[in-house]
Subunit: 349 residues, 2 copies
């Protein structure tokens, strides 16, 4: 018997919003006595510190205080490109491992940040950046690493799915469905990054890297907004026995180095995995050369669900702080195409 | 830039049947130049070596030749408890990492073998032991490690699912459906371990350890055979708008230390994830306290699909041969119950 006890890990949290506060609430858990929240950085820390218990936690609005602290792992939940990307880089440079849910940063700077992490002998994990609680990052990066993934089709934006499935169920307008989603905590004050597919294409770019070893700038992914969807579009889907869902799709032809990738509202067959995804659900169908078709689904939004994915990454780092996570060597596809310009948005599939 | 090249890994394969030969065929791949198949142990090696190329491979029927070789990783695909368990133990003791698809060995000896692996500074991985290509071992052990899983319901035996879904589609007898499954390569000459739930309860025991941290002897899991299912049972399901599937179920009440676990043919709602699983598919619904309900599905049987899961484990070990994989500390539940004795087998759900 070799009694190696788990080394204690000190955690600093950047951003104490919906997901961050869920992480902060769950961390002082009996199940993980070796994980200790030591710092929380938040612009509004004076207001928030009252809402979250934890006698030993240092609240701050200074990134330097975090970087110079004895925290082993920095959890970045600020969202947005900057200052998140710069702070993740600084944390890795300071010898800390990083867990993030930031799809924009990983989609754009993931390769260079992963290389920095590898050189530093530290880890950068991002399960929560795609799919919320649906563990698709590990599935593609590890479980299916030998299956030769050829295509991914999925619902990757919980807000859009909540809006479209609400329009379908209630026969209401997009504006009304959006108000409902906002009331339920599934939509932000400015929902344009969700509705216009900016969020989904960052996630799709991450999945392309994991599944195909391909580097694609999210801006190059054809994205069509769900913002113009009207109740009559839902009716048209229903008359055809279909449903309307916010779909992200990518397929890669390795021999021709050609990536097809797009994000758009699309008809899906009634009763299918995607039609059955209601509310803020995410779902993905992964086509492979050697292992048939693999499916995953689960809650794609919500503080608790996303916090679970963040903490799972924390536990993985704590289990093996010296783990070697080689940065992927990605290549740029020769051709990147999207939907044919003539394709009606709601008839993509 | 830190240019750490992947260390070359030498792999010895124990057992060259359906899965083993699929692994042997795929390993000399351009994608993984660092993985080299060096030894194959098979009782009928004289006959099989002709079928599989590979100039540098040593074919043998001697485990000692493998143990004393320079192989870094032993892939155990013999099936059955012995000699597989003894040889896995010997391989770990000889300083090798092990990948196995052996549900019986992992269900019974997993905890002690994982402890041995940890003490040796080696790894024991077993993604292929449950779910074929459906990556549920990583999902439960890693991705959902912070979600607090409360229940698992799944189709874990591809053979039984192929048989029941065939009876449903063709209106044939179990014997006829079994003959079809055998012809398609999804059933063994002696299918009793599949039909009687012996296979599924070993898999369920493994999932209970991963999801609940609970140790349960597979023999203590209530298992009801599908062997007595008649076409009239399928008709009865259809009349109720249901389907009949081979279901494995476990739920754990941590406060009462009570595990409910059973394997039985059961009615499932028409159109549900399980009713839609046709042929040798596997599927699982995972209920959690913090991340809602997560679903997975994929091919649960077949040499190619299972080989993909085996090679994924090989790649994970090759990526980080010194990874620390702490053995789980499992506890025995105070109470283990199954289906109520009065429950009609086909009405369990």
């Amino acid at each position: 018997m070799c009694a190696e006890s788990l080394r204690s890990c000190r955690v600093a949290l950047l951003g104490c919003g919906t997901v961050g506060s869920a992480v902060a609430r769950r961390l002082p858990a009996a199940a993980w006595p070796h994980i200790r929240l030591t710092h929380v950085l938040d612009r509004r820390h004076a207001a928030k510190r009252r809402a979250i218990a934890g006698a030993d936690v240092v609240w701050t609005d200074s990134i330097d205080a975090v970087l110079s602290s004895d925290a082993d792992i920095v959890v970045e939940l600020l969202g947005g490109l900057q200052p998140a990307a710069a702070w993740i880089r600084a944390a890795l440079a300071a010898g800390k491992s990083v867990v993030t849910a930031n799809k924009q940063v990983i989609a754009r700077d993931g390769p260079s940040l992963l290389r920095l992490a590898e050189c530093q002998g530290r880890q950068l994990r991002f399960e929560a950046a795609v799919g919320g609680a649906m563990p698709i990052v590990r599935a593609l990066g590890e479980g299916l690493s030998a299956a030769e993934v050829t295509r991914i089709t999925g619902i990757l934006n919980g807000t859009c799915n909540a809006v479209l499935s609400r329009m379908e169920a209630a026969g209401c307008t997009l504006g009304e469905a959006l108000a409902d989603a906002r009331a339920a905590g599934f939509a932000e004050a400015d929902p344009s990054a969700d509705l216009d597919g900016i969020d989904a294409r960052a996630k799709l770019a991450i999945l392309c890297a994991l599944a195909f070893g391909v580097r694609v700038d999210p801006d190059r992914i054809d994205a069509r907004s769900i913002g113009a969807i009207r109740p009559s579009d839902l009716d048209r889907a229903r008359r055809r026995g279909a449903a309307l869902r916010p779909i992200a799709h990518a397929s890669y032809d390795v021999d021709r180095s050609t990536l097809i990738a797009w994000v758009a509202p699309a008809f899906v067959p009634g009763g299918s995995l995607f039609a059955r995804a209601i509310g803020p659900a995410n779902a993905a169908l992964v086509g492979t050369r050697h292992a048939g078709e693999i499916g995953l689904f689960g809650p794609g939004a919500g503080g608790e669900a996303t916090a679970s994915a963040v903490i799972a990454d924390l536990l993985a780092i704590a289990r093996d702080p010296a783990a070697v996570v080689p940065a992927p060597s990605l290549h740029a596809p020769a051709v990147v195409t999207g939907l044919h310009p003539d394709t009606t948005i709601v008839e993509a599939l």
